[in-house]
């Protein structure tokens, strides 16, 4: 796409070359290290936020979500004391942070203050996505995995809605979310070098 030269400052151009490969790999490694280091407190934060949202949907409030040993343990005040509590794998929920870090590192001038601020905003939005996904997963467990209790409390439409919503997150949403946040928030030009005075620059 030919860029229209306007007063607005030109955006950095994203070139898929050796430099971008190094940036991507470095961002992936840094994101992975950060993810491994902070997964446990992050899961506690996601569980606390999802618990607060879930309790908004129920009366009386019965749900307790606790992050422990890589799982989000789902408990309800009305579960029989000796029944097993469902455990939801937490890494599946939020490992896409690593992809987000890698994509923002791929952006030209990744260390610039503006790019770091956009990455922070994207990470904040990804946290909201994780909370929403966990809420959907909890509702999906309630709606489909608790036998007669599920059938008594959730109709067919609600069961399909919650289970389908979380399945969509598992299949496509968790992979698409980092790409959408990166594409929507980052600033770069993609594609052909702009045509200047009738001549094309080689990129």
């Amino acid at each position: 796409m030919a860029a229209t030269a306007a007063a607005e400052p030109r955006r950095p151009r994203l070139r898929l070359d050796g430099g971008s490969a190094v940036r991507l790999a470095a961002g992936f490694a840094a994101g992975l290290a950060f993810w491994f280091a902070f997964s446990a407190p992050y899961e506690r934060a996601v569980a606390a936020a999802a618990q607060a949202v879930t309790r908004l949907l129920e009366s009386p409030t019965t749900t307790t979500l606790a992050a422990e040993k890589g799982e989000i343990r789902v408990d309800r005040a009305d579960f029989p004391p000796d029944s097993p509590r469902p455990g939801l794998p937490a890494a599946d929920l939020h490992f896409n942070f690593v992809m987000l870090a890698a994509l923002f590192a791929l952006t030209p001038k990744p260390q610039s203050g503006a790019n770091v601020a956009r990455f922070a905003a994207a990470a904040g939005l990804l946290f909201v996505v994780h909370v929403a996904a966990l809420c959907m997963q909890v509702q999906s467990v309630y709606a489909t995995s608790l036998g007669p209790w599920s059938e008594a409390h959730y109709g067919a439409v609600a069961r399909n809605l919650w289970a389908g919503g979380f399945h969509f997150y598992q299949v496509a949403g968790r992979f698409a979310a980092p790409f959408v946040l990166w594409w929507g928030l980052s600033r770069f030009e993609l594609g052909a070098t702009p045509v200047k005075r009738g001549r094309e620059e080689r990129s």
Binding site: A172, F179, G191
Partner: protein, 191 residues
């Protein structure tokens, strides 16, 4: 995309994301529909298992295949949705179809991208099986975090490479005509 100035650029970017999200939902429902899953996805996944097992045999692993399951004396995996490369292909396909380009080049991009994604996924399945057989402690994190992220990032890179090439072809098209710079309706697509 992502070029130009001001509001029109922002609108194009948002339009791309809206189309991308809509196509993703459509593709998800299509693939999740049981007749499509049974007639297309499951046989395709069984094919992925057969090819992966053949490569593993070449590498000295004594593997056999039953449906979508690969077995050896040391390890066994069942290839499910999420491990067959279809999700990444779905993301790539939605992005290519949402991007403004002539249909012919979109279709070429889709075919080439699908093959490339499957090649990357083959490496993933083979390496994960090897890790499961020889370094089982590393299997879970390799499966969930590393390889899923790598395959999806490769899908994003393939899309960016295709989109960059598409932009270059469009920018290089002669001003007065040439099919390369026109959409399916014959309108000049260059901005």
């Amino acid at each position: 995309m992502k070029a130009g100035a001001g509001g029109s650029d922002r609108r194009r970017s948002l339009a791309f994301l809206a189309k991308f999200a809509a196509l993703l939902v459509v593709f998800y429902f299509l693939l999740d529909w049981r007749p499509v899953n049974d007639a297309v996805v499951v046989p395709f996944t069984a094919g992925v298992a057969r090819v992966s097992a053949a490569v593993l045999r070449l590498l000295g692993e004594g593997t056999t295949v039953a449906g979508t399951e690969i077995r050896s004396a040391r390890f066994a995996v069942n290839i499910e949705n999420g491990c067959n490369g279809v999700e990444t292909a779905l993301l790539f396909g939605a992005a290519v179809l949402a991007f403004p380009a002539p249909w012919r080049r979109r279709l070429v991009g889709l075919a080439a991208g699908f093959v490339a994604i499957q090649a990357i996924n083959l490496v993933r399945v083979v390496s994960l099986f090897w890790i499961g057989a020889h370094r089982p402690a590393l299997f879970s994190s390799s499966h969930t975090v590393l390889w899923q992220s790598i395959v999806v990032l490769c899908g994003v890179l393939l899309f960016l490479a295709w989109a960059t090439r598409e932009q270059r072809v469009r920018a290089a098209a002669p001003a007065g005509g040439g099919r390369e710079g026109r959409d399916k309706d014959g309108r000049d697509r260059r901005r």
